[in-house]
Subunit: 382 residues, 2 copies
C-alpha cells in the first residue's frame, strides 16, 4: 500500500512527522489482544501489523463494528466500555463505560447510530456514532443478547431471562419498539443472515433454534432444529458456540453442534436439517470462505490447535490444518484469497493462502483473539 | 467524514496546502462523466462530489474496478485506454492505451493483476496493478467479452466470434489457459455470480443463456432459458441489456428480457424460469437492493425517465419513480440504506432513501453514467 507522511505542522514550531499514516483504509483491520486490553492495527496488503492502540479496558469476549468510511472502529468490551478508535491516527477518540457488563453491539445501516446490548443492567443503549452521546436507553427485564442491525436504522435484540425478541426503529424522532414474541426459554445468542432476511435465536433452556422473518410486516417465531442444544451429561460443553459462527453458503446454514464433534447443515428455505459432518472437536466458529464452496472450522479447548475445511456441497472434510496453539478466530480477505488466523498461545497471527492452504505470512501479536477487517463496514449484520 | 489537511511541505519554501484530502476511502466513489472523459470523485457520507479527475479519453461504455485498499481505481475506456487513478490525490497515476477498442476488465482476487478484454485486436492483456506493466498477452480468434475475475488469481472470458470460453490461471510463473468449450453462437456478454460459482454467458446469435460451474474441476457448458434472446421484428431492441445488470436474490436470478417489457426470474439451482414481471419498458439494469427483497430496474430509451422497484418474493412491482431524464445507472450504499441514481440529461446524480423511496439529496454532474462506490473492492466479480 502506498503511503504518505501526514505532517502535523504548526508554523511557529519545528515540523514533527507523525508515524506513517495510511491514506486509504480499505485493507486495514484490528486484532483484539485480550490479555493486554489493546488493539493491533493491521494492514492486509502489507501482511503486517502497523501499530497498536492501548487502554481499551477488559477485552475478553470483545467485538467491534466499523464506520461506513472504514476509518473508525466501535469496540464493545466485556466491562461495559464502548470505545471509538481512529485507525488513521491510531488513537482512542471517544470512550464511555456505559454499563457494568456488556455483550456486543451494532451500527445502523446509515452509520449514524451505535447500539450496545447490556447484561448489567440489562437493556439496550443507543449512541450517536460521532461523539458517543446517549440517544436512547431502552430498558429490559433481564440481560440482552444477540443485538444486530436491521436495515432502515433499526436494531433487533433478545432478552435472556424472558425469551422476548424486540425490533427497535430509530429512524424517527422517538424510538418505536415492537415486541416480536417469545423465541423460547433462555436464548443465549442470536444472529441475522447476510441478506438481513432471517433473525436466528439459539436457545439454552430448551432445545431448538427460533427463526424470525424480518422481511415480513409481522415477524413471528418459527422453531426448527428441535434437537439442537445441550446434549446429555456424558459430554461436557467446553464452550458455547457463537451464533456469529454460523456460515451461510450454498442455500444452507452451516452451524456448530453444541457439545458434539459435528457440524450441522440446514436448508435455508425449509429449515430442515440436511446433513451432519463429523469433525475434529467441538466446533466454535464455522466461517464461509468467500467465493468458494468451503467453510473453515475451529474448535474448543483442548482440541483447539486444529482447523478443518469442509466442502458445503459434499459436507465432507477436505483439509485438516494444525496452524498453532489455541486457534481462536479466523477472518477472510473479502474476496477470499487469504485467511488470517489468531493463535493465542503462540502469540501470533498466521496468514494462509486459501487456494494452496499454505502459510504465506505471520506476525507477532499479544494473545490475539478476534480479527476484524474494515471490509465488515460494508456488510449488513456485521 | 472527518478530514485533515495533508501538507505538501518543503522546509525551504512556503507551505502550500493541497486540496482537502480524505483520510479514509471506504465511503468514496467515482461517477463516469461520459461526454467529457472525466470522473467525479464522490463522498457517500457527505452526499456530495469532492473533486474531478480529467483526461481519461473516451468514457462511453466505460467501467472500473478498485484496488483492495480502496484507494485506486482502474478505469477501462472504450478507446482501449486503461487508466489508474488515485482518489486521495485526485490524479491519474498511470495510463496506457493498450488496444484500439476495449470492453471492460477485472482485478485479480489478491489485487495484484488487472486484466482487460479487447475488441481490436481481440484477446486479453494482463497488467501488474502497481505500474500497469504488461505481464501477459493472450491472443484470441476474435473479440473478447465478459471478462471476470475468478478466485485464485484467475480470470474467465469469452470470444464473440468463436463462442469459446476460457479460464486463465495467472498464479504461477507462466499463465495456464484452459478452453471450456463453446457457449453457443455469438455470445454478447457474460457475468459471474456473487459467490463466483457460476459463469453465465448470454447469446446473441441464437437463443438461450449458457452456465458454467466454476467450482467444478471440469466446468462444462449447460444451456438454459432457451427462449431468451432477440424476439421477432415486431419490437425493436433499443439497447442490448448488460449481464452485469442481473440481480442475484432470494435463490433466483432476476434478469432483463431482451426487447420485451419484462423481467425474467430464474431459479438459481434448477436454472428454470419461475416467473415474469411486466414492467414499464425494456429493462437495462436489474440491481438487488442489499439486505432486502427488492430489485430496482431502469429502462431503455425512450422510456428511460422511470425506475421501478420489484419484490423478489411476489415478483410484483411495488413502486414506480420518475427521478429525472435519461436514468442510466443506479448504485446502492453497501448496506442498502441509499441508492444513487445518474440522470444524464438533467446533469445530476440523485440520492434516494431506499426505505421511504424519497429523494434525500442531489448534486451536479456532467452527463453522468456509471456510479461506482469503493465498496466494490471487497466483492468478488466486481
Amino acid at each position: 500500500m502506498k503511503r504518505a507522511f501526514v505532517l502535523l505542522a504548526f508554523l511557529a514550531t519545528p515540523l514533527l512527522a507523525a508515524p506513517e499514516t495510511p491514506l486509504a483504509t480499505g485493507d486495514l483491520g484490528l486484532v483484539i489482544e485480550r490479555a493486554t486490553g489493546s488493539l493491533l492495527v493491521i494492514d492486509r496488503s502489507d501482511r503486517a501489523a502497523i501499530g497498536r492502540i492501548e487502554g481499551l479496558g477488559d477485552l475478553s469476549h470483545a467485538s467491534m463494528t466499523y464506520s461506513p468510511d472504514e476509518r473508525f472502529a466501535y469496540v464493545f468490551g466485556r466491562d461495559g466500555g464502548l470505545t471509538k478508535v481512529d485507525m488513521v491516527t491510531q488513537e482512542i477518540v471517544a470512550r464511555t463505560v456505559q454499563a457494568g457488563n456488556s455483550i456486543g453491539g451494532a451500527i445502523s445501516d446509515d452509520g449514524k447510530l451505535v447500539a450496545v446490548s447490556n447484561y448489567e443492567p440489562g437493556g439496550v443503549k443507543v449512541f450517536d456514532a460521532d461523539k458517543l452521546a446517549l440517544i436512547a436507553d431502552i430498558p429490559a427485564d433481564g440481560k440482552t443478547i444477540g443485538l444486530v442491525d436491521v436495515p432502515g436504522r433499526r436494531f433487533a435484540w433478545t432478552v435472556w431471562d424472558t425469551g422476548e425478541v424486540y425490533l427497535g426503529d430509530f429512524s424517527g424522532p422517538e424510538p418505536k419498539i415492537a415486541a416480536l414474541g417469545k423465541a423460547g426459554k433462555n436464548p443465549f445468542d442470536a444472529v441475522i443472515t447476510d441478506d438481513a432476511h432471517t433473525y436466528l435465536v439459539g436457545l439454552f433452556g430448551e432445545k431448538g433454534v427460533t427463526a424470525y422473518d424480518l422481511w415480513s410486516d409481522k415477524p413471528e417465531p418459527r422453531k426448527f432444529l428441535t434437537d439442537y442444544g445441550k446434549t446429555g451429561e456424558d459430554m461436557p460443553v467446553y464452550k458455547m458456540p457463537h451464533l456469529q459462527g454460523w456460515a451461510f453458503t450454498e442455500g444452507q446454514y452451516a452451524l456448530p453442534a453444541v457439545g458434539r464433534h459435528e457440524l450441522l447443515w440446514v436448508n435455508r428455505d425449509t429449515l430442515e436439517e440436511v446433513a451432519t459432518t463429523p469433525v475434529h472437536g467441538q466446533p466454535v466458529f464455522v466461517i464461509a470462505q468467500p467465493a468458494s464452496p468451503f467453510v473453515w472450522v475451529n474448535f474448543a479447548t483442548p482440541l483447539n490447535d486444529t482447523v478443518q475445511v469442509v466442502d458445503s456441497r459434499t459436507h465432507e472434510v477436505v483439509a485438516t490444518l494444525t496452524p498453532g496453539k489455541a486457534i481462536l478466530h479466523m477472518e477472510f480477505a473479502p474476496r477470499g484469497a487469504e485467511v488470517w488466523i489468531s493463535s493465542r498461545d503462540d502469540n501470533k497471527v498466521l496468514i494462509y493462502d486459501t487456494r494452496t492452504r499454505e502459510k504465506v505470512g505471520e506476525f507477532a501479536a499479544e494473545a490475539p483473539s478476534g480479527i476484524f477487517f474494515t471490509a465488515r463496514a460494508h456488510q449488513p449484520g456485521l
